[in-house]
């Protein structure tokens, strides 16, 4: 018990280190002053300003289009990739290779994708960002779904076939429900990653359709405004909600065996 009491100190320091930046941003988003460095009382002024900023709202729309599209695309491709690897290719080198786009530094992916689009003569725009996000998103979903597949009883699919369900029907009625916690968790992961992805979007986007992180970056060049704090706080709420939901779903998935 004594060791536990003293253990609280490094724990508290670690968590302070982790969460202080986040707390600062959230606190400043409610600051009535327009200076970052002076507290002038509580205010929702910056949230109001944010709602009136058409550039930000438009970019938020772009970001959500990309995030939703990337999630949908990655979930389908990643699930199929995981099943294919698990069922037909028991080769660990290929498993590692499938994870590559998730591990590779964003800047490498960004340069590679840009070079690819330019070489192929593809016009840059929201669609290229979407495609790029599906590339790393698929790898993330595949990794999460593959972990779940290892715990799934293969005789469930056989039981379904045995009872007269076709392979396609078996896939939707038995395989997908069995993988659902992992599919949802992977999807939420991709959604949050896509939501604030900057480097790849910066390289592969066209000028007409900036995503939210790109607009924030542009704003920074003219000096920080407290609007950004309000935006950051809102993004935080969305990301945390998604991640907590993902964790709860995977947790549920693990405990029903």
């Amino acid at each position: 018990m004594r060791s536990l009491r003293w253990g609280v100190v490094p724990l508290a320091i670690t968590f302070a280190f982790l969460y202080l930046p986040i707390l600062v941003v959230v606190a400043l988003s409610f600051n009535a002053s327009d200076s970052q460095f002076r507290w002038a009382g509580f205010s929702l002024e910056w949230y109001g300003e944010l709602a009136g900023n058409r550039e930000i709202i438009a970019s938020l729309g772009n970001t959500i289009v990309v995030a939703v599209g990337a999630t949908a695309g990655s979930v389908v491709l990643g699930t199929l990739l995981a099943i294919g690897l698990h069922r037909y290719l028991r080769w660990s080198a290929l498993d590692a290779l499938a994870l590559g786009p998730a591990i590779a530094p964003d800047i490498v992916m960004a340069i590679g994708l840009l070079a690819l689009y330019v070489t192929a003569g593809v016009t840059l725009g929201l669609h290229t960002v979407l495609l790029s996000h599906i590339v790393f998103g698929t790898a993330f979903v595949a990794a999460v779904v593959k972990a779940r597949l290892g715990h799934l009883d293969p005789s469930l699919e056989e039981a379904s076939l045995d009872l007269g369900a076709t392979p396609l029907s078996t896939f939707f009625r038995v395989t997908v429900p069995g993988l659902l916690p992992a599919i949802v968790a992977g999807g939420l992961l991709v959604f949050t990653l896509s939501l604030d992805e900057f480097v790849i979007a910066f390289f592969t986007n066209g000028p007409a359709t900036p995503t939210l992180p790109m607009v924030i970056y542009a704003m920074l060049r003219f000096g920080l405004t407290p609007e950004i704090n309000a935006l950051a706080a809102l993004l935080l709420v969305v990301s945390f909600t998604a991640v907590i939901a993902a964790q709860r779903l995977t947790g549920l998935g693990g405990s029903d065996e």
Binding site: D153, S155, L156, E158, A159, S160, L161, D162, L163, G164, A165, T166, P167, S169, R173, V174, P177, G178, D256
Partner: protein
């Protein structure tokens, strides 16, 4: 009568491992048939071939006169009760049982009625709305059974049906399975490594070893007239004496002399083993075949076992007696048996 299932010269190998080696078997309508053997004998492979999850390298399988092998598992009138039960965890008990009927496109009223009926037959009506994770082992097995018989298959396959249950539930389910088989009139094929399970359930048993059929017979015949040494020792316990068949039909065993038997078809001079069940050996001081001393006794309630050391023979000879024995360790005894009970097995 033509058999319901005809397995003709089926072979299957996995790499260098021979799972099935030229297996031929007939299974008749309404029969309770058992595939018995130690793990790795090929019984599960044969079951999976019947269910459609495994292919053959050579041979044919017929079901009621039609070639079964090109038919995919979801079109075979055969259902399998999996060893792990394989209940769908995301569906309730009644949805699990209804699954096969729904895939057949049966009207909803019929599905509901048949599911209710089969849940009643296996005695788990009260669990209908629960999830499999909320059931006991015995209940899960009943759900698996209900799900497998609700479509009224021509053939029901059961993979180690009782192995996951504790002893008391197992005895109960054993009786239940026999009752059900009579009641629903479906041909059952059970795969098991447990000889007691096979003996108590099946009308006929095929004993497999190393992918080959050793013997197919009714339980009593398998027990009393094993045709191979493997069957003689795998089913029940046996005292085995290897030697050579003599002119009078006995077996000459090195160190023991000629032991009495009726060699049946094994010709004199052939190498053979004599097998005699412990319960067929009697204690006889007047004209014993073998003499020895009691090395150990064990009491099992209904019967006792004596381990008798016989000079010239390396292993104790096992003798069972009804009830408790009064013979103590170290007592000299004479052993005798009726030659008709001694089975001679060619090498």
């Amino acid at each position: 009568m033509t058999p319901l299932v005809s397995i003709e010269r089926v072979s299957r190998r996995f790499g260098s491992v021979v799972a099935l080696d030229d297996v031929s078997l007939d299974i008749h309508e309404n029969e309770f048939f058992a595939l018995l053997g130690p793990s790795g004998c090929g019984k599960t492979t044969l079951l999976r071939i019947l269910a459609g999850f495994e292919t053959v390298d050579a041979g044919a399988v017929w079901l009621a006169g039609t070639d079964l092998l090109p038919v995919p598992p979801y079109r075979r009138p055969i259902n399998l009760m999996f060893q792990s039960y394989a209940l769908f965890p995301h569906l309730s008990v009644e949805r699990n049982v209804a699954y096969g009927l729904e895939r057949e496109g049966r009207p909803r009223d019929e599905v509901r009625a048949r599911v209710a009926e089969v849940l009643r037959v296996v005695g788990i009506t009260e669990t209908a709305r629960r999830r499999p994770s909320q059931l006991s082992g015995g209940q899960r097995q009943r759900v698996a059974l209900a799900r497998a018989i609700v479509k009224r298959p021509r053939l029901l396959l059961l993979d180690e049906p009782l192995s996951a249950l504790d002893r008391k539930v197992r005895e109960e389910m054993q009786l239940e399975l026999k009752r059900l088989q009579h009641e629903v009139g479906i041909t059952f094929v059970v795969v098991t490594h447990d000889q007691e399970e096979a003996m108590s359930l099946a009308d006929r048993i095929a004993v497999l070893q190393h992918g080959r059929v050793q013997q197919v017979d009714a339980p009593v015949v398998l027990y009393e007239r094993p045709r191979t040494l493997f069957v003689a020792t795998f089913i029940g316990s046996n005292n085995v004496f290897p030697g050579m068949v003599t002119a009078d039909g006995g077996v000459a065993v090195h160190g023991l002399g000629v032991l009495p038997a009726r060699s049946g078809g094994v010709p004199p001079g052939a190498s053979a083993s004599l097998a005699i069940r412990p319960e067929h050996i009697t204690l006889d001081e007047m004209a014993p075949t073998l003499r020895g001393t009691v090395a150990d006794t064990q009491f099992y309630g209904g019967q006792s076992t004596l381990a008798v050391d016989v000079p010239g023979w390396g292993r104790p000879v096992v003798v069972t007696q009804q009830g408790a024995t009064r013979i103590g360790r170290g007592t000299p005894v004479g052993l005798r048996w009726d030659p008709a009970w001694a089975v001679v097995l060619a090498e």
